[in-house]
């Protein structure tokens, strides 16, 4: 559909949250938690922090929870009975104030869960999620959305995208039918947009250091350059912080809990950076060194996903670099990769 432009007065945001809550939907928004900002459920707009640069964790938990029940089982008499979780009980949810990088990440995450075999859990959650994005007025040295084909005002993945104008009011771009349905909850709040509403001047300036296509081609071309990958990864500790805060990382583990007569099967986040991720029972490990695991992370995002799922696996949010205990800076390493002599 064609994007419709409306004006949402700054004081109308509170009313919008009330209307959404009144309609029985849950609202998640960035909330300040001490030194960090995280997505959390809110009852009123006063709880939200819309001036944030980036949350520590992405909102992927809403679509791909860090622990999710995928089955329960119970022995009745001699027979084992299995049961699916009731996905119809999931609440309709609106995530408000998500930046364009995160909104775009939903497409990448979705590509993993819906290419070939369809993942009902992801799809059920996605169906019930409406994204009210918020353009970025500021970035930091970790942001690189412009280098991965996005920008601080990209509408990709948002159902409605808000941009705070100089006046403090929001330009609301209604991007999808879901967005339109949300507007219908409070149509009186969405005023006609002034003809001269200048979105661009309200956006952060994010430098474009490379293109994602270049990054992918270069990573592929330098695949066998062990010195490069091992050198970059030498300080890497092999923890999962980067993968767990990433909005598109989707690797998971499946774990049973309970007894052999009654219990649950859970899907839990996992990370290709962990030394044990690929280890065989025999002890053989296909990716023995951290350099190979670091390469896998970059290759997966910039080469394998584009090749197999036709999407890039990085949206330039910079979370991995901010969260890294040892300052593995993905943007810097991608630039190094492009500059390294072949």
């Amino acid at each position: 559909m064609e994007i419709e432009r409306r004006l949402l007065k700054k004081e109308a945001l509170a009313g919008l949250v009330e209307k959404i809550n009144a309609a029985g939907r849950k609202v998640h928004a960035p909330v300040c938690e001490g030194a960090r900002v995280e997505f959390a459920p809110i009852d009123s707009i006063a709880e939200a922090d819309l001036g944030y640069v980036q949350t520590t964790q992405s909102a992927k938990n809403l679509l791909f929870p860090r622990v999710e029940r995928i089955l329960s089982f119970k022995r009745r008499g001699g027979a084992m009975e299995t049961a699916d979780p009731d996905l119809s009980a999931l609440p309709e949810t609106v995530v408000l104030g998500m930046h364009p990088c995160d909104a775009a990440a939903i497409g990448s995450l979705g590509a993993i869960f819906t290419w070939d075999t369809q993942d009902a859990f992801f799809k059920a959650r996605l169906e019930k999620l409406t994204v009210v994005g918020l353009s970025c007025a500021a970035g930091d040295e970790y942001c690189f959305c412009a280098s991965v084909g996005l920008g601080p005002g990209s509408t990709e993945g948002s159902d409605i995208l808000l941009t705070r104008l100089a006046s403090g009011d929001f330009l609301a771009e209604i991007v999808t039918a879901k967005g339109k349905a949300l507007v219908e909850l409070a149509p009186e709040l969405f005023l006609p947009a002034p003809a001269g509403a200048d979105k661009d001047s309200a956006l952060a300036r994010i430098e474009k250091s490379f293109t994602r296509e270049e990054a992918g081609e270069r990573a592929k071309a330098r695949f066998d350059d062990d010195a490069l990958w091992d050198g970059q990864a030498l300080r890497c500790l092999g923890c999962g912080a980067c993968a767990y805060v990433c909005p598109t990382c989707a690797c998971f583990d499946i774990q049973d809990e309970g007894t052999t007569s009654r219990g649950v099967r859970l899907r839990c986040w996992d990370s290709c950076g962990f030394p044990a991720f690929t280890i065989h029972t025999s002890g053989h490990n296909p990716r023995e060194e951290q350099g190979a695991r670091w390469r896998q992370r970059l290759m997966h995002k910039f080469s394998y996903m584009p090749e197999r799922q036709d999407v890039f696996g990085c949206v330039g949010c910079g979370r991995c670099s901010r969260a890294c205990p040892v300052d593995m800076n993905i943007k810097e390493h991608l630039i190094d990769l492009l500059e390294a002599k072949s």
């Binding site: 030194a35 960090r36 091992d230 923890c239 999962g240 912080a241 583990d253 969260a323 205990p325």
Partner: protein, 267 residues
């Protein structure tokens, strides 16, 4: 800093070490670990207040060990870690060069572990006032309040294992959480899994933790793990008169049996 760079260059040029594990500039005003292998790159080394990571973490890492004999730029907690790792037979005297730069630009090169012991015996280990205030606040809580406090903190844990990976004393090739016959610690990051994981890790470090604080700094969701560690450090000290990282020989309190050990806690 000049002393440090000069020394690093000389060590590399003389072939006395193959790599200097030190600090260099990172993103923005961050410092990061760098691994200097060519003498001409010694000038990339820095040392100032930003240099907090305990670089002793790299002494036991396979990829770094493969580079050859290291020199390590050591902060006070890193010096303690060197002794503790020696006490646990993870590193040997002569297997590394230990360089401790001072804030004033001076540089001490420790020739022996005994020299480090002597140095540490006379060195103060200042505690961050904000951390001490949090410790006092949590200590003043009733057990109920404190339990709720920890459940709240631990509920944020995402089990990324940054705490473990950043910890120089967590060098086990296979962590308890990865042992699944039986599955001691639940893998999922739910309430029980998080609680058991963090308690287990604290217990495995009791008497071994040198209080470098890297686990807390590594935690992306800001769980104050140092509180758990410090309480246990205090308990070990008051019960067994031991403090990790002060000696290169370890008579580890929780795995050493003495016939005259107190048994009055067994009821």
């Amino acid at each position: 800093m000049d002393e440090l760079r000069k020394k690093a260059r000389a060590l590399l040029e003389a072939g006395e070490v193959r790599v200097v594990i030190g600090y260099g500039g990172g993103t923005g005003d961050r410092a990061r670990a760098i691994f200097v292998r060519e003498p001409e790159r010694a000038d990339e080394l820095i040392f100032d207040g930003r240099c907090r990571q305990n670089l002793a973490i790299y002494l036991t890492r396979r990829e770094v060990k493969e580079l050859g004999k290291p020199a390590i730029v050591a902060t006070l907690p890193a010096l303690k870690t060197v002794l503790q790792l020696a006490g646990e037979f993870q590193i040997a005297e002569g297997g590394l060069v230990v360089l401790a730069p001072g804030a004033d630009g001076s540089l001490i090169e420790f020739k022996t572990f005994a020299d480090i012991e002597k140095y540490l015996a006379g060195a103060a280990s200042p505690i961050d006032p904000a951390e001490q205030a949090e410790m006092d606040r949590v200590r003043a809580m009733s057990p109920d309040e404190r339990w709720k406090y920890w459940l709240g903190q631990i509920s944020r844990c995402i089990k990324c294992y940054a705490c473990r990976q950043a910890c120089p004393m967590c060098y086990c090739p296979r962590c308890t959480v990865e042992c699944n016959q039986p599955q001691w610690i639940p893998v999922p990051s739910h309430e029980l899994g998080n609680l058991e994981w963090n308690v287990m890790r604290a217990m495995h470090l009791a008497g071994r933790c040198v209080d470098c604080g890297d686990c807390s700094r590594a935690c992306p969701v800001g769980i104050p793990l140092y509180l758990l560690n410090r309480v246990l450090i205090g308990d070990i000290e008051s019960n067994f008169h031991q403090r990790a990282g002060m000696k290169a020989e370890v008579d580890y309190a929780l795995s050493t049996f003495h016939p005259d050990d107190r048994e009055n806690f067994i009821r």
